[in-house]
């Protein structure tokens, strides 16, 4: 992955709002990932329209998010195979 690639959740992964616990979740075969509010804010932007640089910039401006935290979460999703490749 390079800085200019746009980021998108893998086809197998679905981002959904859980009405029971009122939290966002990423659901994929055999697993689910319950997201914190800040993780959900990142995940909701993984729609294939932004590069990592744009993503960290937007989240810093909108929420004061630390770019290092955003990168760490995106990397973790990538390691789990949850980003399109």
């Amino acid at each position: 992955m390079t800085a200019s690639d746009t980021l998108k959740l893998a086809r197998k992964a679905r981002l959904r709002f859980d009405r029971h616990d009122e939290r966002w979740m990423i659901v994929y075969p055999e697993r689910g990932l319950v997201l914190s509010e800040s993780a959900a804010a990142i995940a909701r932007k993984l729609d294939g329209t932004r590069s990592l640089e744009q993503l960290t910039g937007e989240l810093a401006a909108e929420r004061g998010a630390d770019p290092a935290d955003v990168r760490a979460f995106v990397d973790a999703l990538g390691r789990k195979g949850l980003l399109e490749r």
């Binding site: 086809r11 959904r16 859980d18 075969p29 689910g32």
Partner: protein, 356 residues
């Protein structure tokens, strides 16, 4: 507090055109044909499951494609916001039917493959199925659906990890599940023909690790060494009636696909009570939920929140008591049963196919 189930395993039917000798269905699966739930009841089960907290529905069997209402049920689950997964042999499937399932909102398809070779695959399945499975996997990818290729591993195919991975790559699978047979129901009946030697298992685990590293970021390769080859129990179903709720073709609510083998338990059907009532109050689901049932040394074990006491079906099958320590555990007084099976000669024995 009653735990929240996240996954519904909807076993729509035990009917199947294949006859694999390690089938996870009950030995008496043929008895269920006339007692299958109808579409209206399955829709209610999906509604009630979502209400309970389920976010994911696996449509499985038997062969779920044997049900003509599969598309309608997938669509219903999709409308409820559930992640839908079709667990299929790929037989009988047409491209048109898969397109209809995709339109209904299907999120993921898992296709089982018995071997990397047609002749050996068909010998395991007891049917001419391998070529059709390859076609089915290609359609899945052509329609843009995520694909898991699943292989149940046993003595006769576990030496073929390299060829199986190669096939999964050729099919552009997103995931490859190399799933060792679980020795309950049919696989237990065929254990002497199916159980690999320890040297085979070690070598397969090594090859799987090699491919996991090589394919990292491109294809997920899952390989879990089976509990028999270790000394601690598996976290079976993440705990009894905790995260998974199974509904059998006849409507009985189970903690796992094999639980009806525990003949001392009586499982209740969604025909008589709601899924919620059964999940919260059924004696069979309460029997091993939590820790109150645990024998020594489980009840004071540091691992009790990791493995939840292991597999109750296995304890029952091997010791005759569902509340016994899982015999896989090195602390079980029955561990010798597992060791003796592992040491038994793998002389060329023949397996018995399940009936169709």
């Amino acid at each position: 507090m009653t735990p929240r189930p996240y996954t519904l395993v909807a076993e729509l039917t035990y009917r199947c055109p294949l006859a694999c000798p390690y089938c996870s269905n009950p030995l008496d699966h043929a008895q269920y044909g006339k007692s299958e739930l109808d579409e209206v009841t399955w829709r209610r089960v999906l509604d009630e499951a979502e209400e309970l907290g389920v976010v994911q529905a696996h449509f499985t069997g038997g062969e779920p494609l044997a049900r003509k209402d599969l598309e309608a049920l997938v669509e219903h689950a999709h409308r409820l916001g559930l992640y839908t997964n079709l667990v299929t042999s790929g037989v009988p499937l047409s491209r048109e039917r898969l397109e209809a399932l995709a339109r209904a909102g299907l999120d993921h398809v898992q296709v089982s493959v018995q071997s990397a070779s047609r002749a050996r695959g068909d010998a395991v399945a007891g049917a001419s199925a391998h070529e059709q499975k390859l076609r089915a996997m290609r359609w899945v990818k052509e329609l843009g659906l995520p694909l898991t290729m699943n292989v149940v591993l046993h003595a006769a195919n576990i030496d073929d990890i390299d060829a199986l991975v190669e096939l999964a790559e050729e099919m552009s699978a997103d995931r490859l599940e190399l799933a060792n047979a679980q020795y309950v129901t049919w696989a237990l009946a065929n254990r002497d023909a199916l159980l690999p030697a320890r040297s085979q298992m070690d070598s397969a685990a090594g090859r799987a690790r090699h491919h996991q590293a090589r394919l990292a970021g491109r294809m997920d390769v899952l390989f879990v060494k089976p509990d028999w080859f270790g000394t601690t129990p598996k976290a079976c179903m993440d705990g009894w009636a905790r995260r998974f709720v199974h509904v059998a073709p006849d409507g009985r609510v189970l903690p796992c696909h094999a639980a009806t083998t525990i003949s001392s338990l009586r499982f209740e059907s969604v025909r008589a009570r709601s899924l919620e009532e059964i999940w919260k109050h059924s004696d069979a689901l309460l029997a091993f939920r939590g820790e109150a049932w645990m024998p020594d040394p489980c009840r004071s074990c540091d691992r009790r929140e990791i493995d939840f006491g292991g597999c109750r079906c296995q304890a029952f099958a091997l010791t005759g008591r569902a509340d016994a320590v899982d015999p896989v555990c090195s602390l079980s007084p029955h561990r010798h049963i597992v060791d003796e099976a592992l040491e038994a000669s793998r002389a060329p024995s023949r397996w018995l196919h399940r009936g169709r």
